[in-house]
């Protein structure tokens, strides 16, 4: 129906975005009837989302005509933004921004660099940016989940942690158990994505490749490659961030800083 009303691709896109947003807002209104208030969060997120993605689309239009190294700049910018966003999940943990940024940079950066070097990811901007951003975004989500879980675990085991400290335990050892469970739970989405690939969902990248005329079999295999890369980078990010954050919840005098209200 829309296609007959809108003749340019951009205006068609905005019309489609408007319909998707209205649908999302209807669900929010439905939630409101059950006293779950998501109105302002959802409205801001939708507005922010469309502005951000249109901005990125516009930048990509310019970059496609530029030199290849510009993709490195864009990916670096994405890593910095991802570090800042996921650090918010580690409220009250000093140094969370640094830990998040370093972990995402290392996790997503190492995997993207190796796969680009091996020729799995093409160095063309049209390939490196979408695949790199998928890896960074998933590393960000995993990092946020890991830090959030770690924070909750420590907050709900303050007594155990301080008992161990009072018995002379090394601070990082007192929270090691909670760091391990955080890594495990943060990787559940990435593992489930891999398990359900092709059965429950056909990801966007594969759909895009099919639409652009790639062989369905190659598109399917390449989609597996991307999801496996996401698992590798998410795993590395989660391992690094939980390893680094452990020391940040203690003072130099080995006192637990992350506690409920005193």
């Amino acid at each position: 129906m829309l296609k007959s009303l809108f003749h340019s691709q951009v205006s068609l896109g905005f019309a489609q975005a408007a319909i998707a947003s209205v649908l999302a807002l209807l669900v929010v209104l439905l939630a409101r009837r059950r006293s779950i208030h998501l109105e302002s969060d959802a409205a801001i997120a939708l507005l922010r989302g469309i502005v951000q993605i249109v901005a990125v689309g516009s930048i990509l239009m310019l970059l496609l005509k530029g030199p290849r190294w510009t993709s490195v700049l864009l990916l670096t910018g994405m890593i910095l933004a991802a570090g800042s966003i996921s650090a918010k999940r580690a409220k009250n943990i000093p140094g969370a921004l640094k830990v998040s940024t370093y972990s995402i940079a290392a996790g997503a950066g190492v995997v993207t660099a190796i796969m680009t070097w091996a020729g799995v990811i093409d160095t063309a901007i049209t390939s490196l940016i979408p695949v790199g951003s998928m890896i960074i975004a998933n590393a960000m989500n995993t990092n946020g989940l890991a830090l959030n879980r770690f924070r909750s675990e420590v907050l709900s085991h303050v007594g155990e942690v301080e008992t161990a400290l009072a018995l002379g335990a090394a601070p990082e050892e007192t929270v090691a158990r909670y760091a391990e469970s955080s890594i495990h739970s943060s990787l559940i989405p990435a593992i489930d994505n891999l398990r359900s690939l092709g059965i429950v969902w056909i990801p966007g990248l594969m759909t895009g490749m099919l639409l652009s005329g790639s062989s369905p079999l190659y598109a399917a295999i390449y989609q597996f490659v991307v999801i496996a890369m996401i698992l590798a980078s998410s795993g590395l990010t989660s391992l690094l961030s939980t390893m680094m954050i452990r020391s940040h919840v203690f003072s130099p005098a080995e006192q637990l800083l992350l506690r409920g209200a005193e």
Binding site: G159, L165, A166, A169, S251, A253
Partner: protein
């Protein structure tokens, strides 16, 4: 009194000097200076919110003082590594927070942190001392509240502390278990000349157990003396 009968001056194990802690705009512990001698069981008594537990947490540096300091055997505790300090100043809290596993694992916890393995004989000796002979292989989930608190005491003693901090150690126990743990603490203090600081809101408990009592109100030390002197009312 002859020279032979003059008691030797007792060594001061813990001494606080103008100790204080501020949280934002609130001073939860204010300028407390006191000392605890070897073998003494000092009771810290006061109403809820008077800063008793906050004061106790400053003694093993679980919290950082914002003013003053603590001396352990005459040495400023800021010069000691925190782990070394906490080995020498043990703590038993209201809830025992036992680690998952058996009783022996819990008793061995402190020495294990220093890379030492407490031999079975020593584990059994500690358990015997707290009235839990034969409990070494019991899973901690199968223990009563009183038994858990006894394990917590044995676990603290396994580090060989010079001073022991007790934060309301019986307040979560029923009367029978409470009486048993009280007697046990008194026996341990008498038998080993251990220096203890007991935080309690129960004035009768302080009267029964302590050799000296410090009264705290709104974070400030208002009175110290024998139980008969300060808890007569």
């Amino acid at each position: 009194m002859s020279a032979d009968t003059v008691p030797a001056p007792m060594a001061v194990v813990l001494r606080t000097e103008h100790l204080g802690r501020r949280m934002g705009d609130t001073e939860i512990v204010k300028d407390i200076s006191l000392q605890v001698e070897r073998g003494e069981l000092l009771g810290v008594v006061g109403p809820s919110g008077s800063g008793k537990s906050s004061f106790l947490r400053l003694l093993n540096r679980l919290d950082e003082p914002t003013s003053g300091t603590v001396y352990l055997d005459g040495q400023d505790y800021r010069q000691l590594a925190p782990r070394e300090l906490r080995r020498r100043v043990g703590m038993v809290t209201q809830r025992p927070f036992l680690f998952p596993g058996d009783v022996a694992l819990n008793v061995r916890f402190g020495p294990t942190q220093r890379g030492e393995t407490l031999p079975d004989t020593e584990v059994n000796r500690l358990l015997e001392r707290v009235g839990l002979s034969g409990f070494a292989s019991r899973d901690v989930t199968n223990l009563s509240g009183g038994e858990q608190q006894r394990v917590s005491l044995a676990r603290a003693l396994a580090n060989g502390p010079e001073a022991l901090l007790l934060d309301e150690p019986t307040s979560a126990l029923d009367d029978e278990a409470k009486e048993g743990v009280e007697e046990l603490i008194c026996e341990v203090v008498r038998g080993t000349s251990l220096t203890c600081v007991l935080v309690t809101h129960d004035r009768n408990q302080a009267r029964r157990m302590c050799t000296r009592v410090a009264i705290l109100e709104k974070g400030r030390l208002v009175q110290t003396g024998t139980p008969a002197e300060v808890l007569s009312a």
